[in-house]
């Protein structure tokens, strides 16, 4: 009877553990996590990167549509190659990094989820905050769940990785980023590409 109870307890615990969503931390010590932004205006193309990524997601590989959490990019980590352009970009007239130090995307719901082994894709709807303005947007996301692969990036650390990729476009005028600036020099459309890996250590 005792053995029977123990087996039942072990089975129920294992089931509960396997069903529990995993928490993935996107503050990557290797500095791989990044956002690339592109503004392609007729007179000038502006390309830049950002690597100040953080945030956590709760992800269940058995039920990816229930994923919750948020991704944050530090505004001050945005980088372009020309130092004067960078000063202007982070200054009060454009992104105003001092007043709005974070760019945030908070997941509200996920639809059109397709799963293929450890690969998932879906339409993620959430609150996107840029320059202090929050709007609900829907973005396509591809995710790859790499079970037990954390040790390949962080030696002697067991755990899983969650890789996210997404490319979407927002309009700077929607977020009050110098809306009066000529759009032939600075495009209204900002194409953002996110390349992120989150770690869930055990």
């Amino acid at each position: 009877m005792r053995l029977h109870s123990k087996i039942l307890f072990a089975l129920s615990t294992a089931t509960a553990l396997s069903a529990a969503p995993l928490s993935f931390d996107f503050k990557d010590p290797k500095g791989v996590n990044n956002a690339v932004f592109k503004l392609d205006a007729p007179l000038e193309a502006i390309n830049g990167t950002a690597n100040g990524v953080s945030g956590t997601l709760s992800f269940d590989p058995e039920n990816p549509s229930k994923t919750t959490g948020s991704i944050v990019v530090g505004t001050g980590s945005l980088h372009v190659a020309n130092p004067m352009m960078k000063d202007h970009m982070l200054g009060a007239q454009w992104l105003d990094a001092a007043a709005h130090p974070e760019i945030r995307f908070e997941i509200a719901r996920i639809g059109a989820v397709k799963a293929d082994g450890g690969n998932f894709s879906g339409e993620v709807t959430g609150k996107f905050t840029l320059h202090g303005v929050t709007k609900e947007i829907t973005v396509p996301v591809k995710a790859t769940y790499l079970k037990d692969k954390l040790g390949m990036r962080v030696p002697n650390q067991k755990g899983d990785l969650l890789v996210l990729r997404s490319t979407f476009t927002v309009k700077r005028s929607d977020y009050g980023i110098n809306p009066g600036a000529p759009q032939d020099k600075v495009s209204d459309e900002i194409e953002i590409t996110l390349s992120l890996a989150g770690a869930s250590p055990r």
Binding site: N34, A81, N82, K149
Partner: protein
Amino acid sequence: MKTLLRRLSVILALAASVTWLALGRNTGWTKTSVTTMKTDPVTTLEYPVTEKRFVPGVDLLGLCLAGAGVLAGLSLLRPRTPAARP
């Protein structure tokens, strides 16, 4: 003086052009860093690696060529001649 200004003008224009050509013929703005994309072997994510490097752009080239033009223009000015005494 005229010869000196003209020589300076030519030297400035040549130095600026050669430097701009040698450092990458960048047709954009001057850069103080260069970003290249690498691929993480585990996640296969592409990530930027930024290194500090000075790459002159057309703004700096234009400024130097304009400076050379000003020097050349100055060399064409006639020196003031003292008024002839009666």
